[in-house]
Symmetry: C2
Amino acid sequence: MALPNGPVATSSEVEAVLFDLVDVYDRAYEAAAAELSLSPAQACVLGRLDERRGMGALAEELGCDASNITQIVVRLEALGLVTREPDPRDRRGRLVARTTRGDEINQRFATAFTFARTAVARLSAAEQDQLTALLRKALG
Amino acid sequence: MALPNGPVATSSEVEAVLFDLVDVYDRAYEAAAAELSLSPAQACVLGRLDERRGMGALAEELGCDASNITQIVVRLEALGLVTREPDPRDRRGRLVARTTRGDEINQRFATAFTFARTAVARLSAAEQDQLTALLRKALG
DNA sequence: AATGATGCTTGATTCGCTCAAGTAATTCGG
DNA sequence: CCGAATTACTTGAGCGAATCAAGCATCATT
């Protein structure tokens, strides 16, 4: 399991609970991926393929090197969750798309990653709106 | 940079902003560590050494294998940020403690990781209390 | 004193991530 | 239309994080 990101010394209560949230979220994500024998990175990429798209688009959206995406996609392809076809419009490019099995696994992952859903469900509709507003404001 | 953890398909607005928060938090943590040439894991371990403690205690608190901690501590030691002395009470154990330089770097990291601090600062005291309460409730 | 548990390290392996180079295809300037 | 940059991606090398299986030394128990 990945080490948590924080805290050095939580100066306030809010910061502490914020850290807690991030930690629990990250661990839940990782655990959900592990249930399906996926790494978090694999689950992430798989989740971004609702439409077929090029490697570069993925790399840019995920803010990492293209070669990183190559590796992850190669593994997803080896697992039969993804295909990589040449782009007819630009034969340099490769279009990545989920296979039916990829769709299925992605769906199962979405089901397994209950954290955000159940956390939100503990709040009333009004509270959810409040939380959204507060976090938006905090994020600036 | 590490790939984000999410989203498959954000079903609600709250979930989306929650994901955003986690993503920005994680990236900020990583960036702050990188400023000091530390990996997130190294920054994390360094931050847990306000008091000297054994490897096992660290592993348990961080929820990972002891051998993982060994590696990270070895690197921190090589960087001169940490010492590893035999435990006089139990000579199997090794007590890890920050060096003065380790203290300094840890302090600088705390300064560099502004995200939680500045996010919270955008809220009034009342809003901070609200947010704390909401997140606590959501975390269950 | 022997047996077993504990605390940590080592070695092997996998994955994520980055950087530097390389290849192929496209675009652009002349 | 041709050569030069640019773009899209892959490959290879290298590092850190993480896990697992073994191993070693040191307690702790009987």
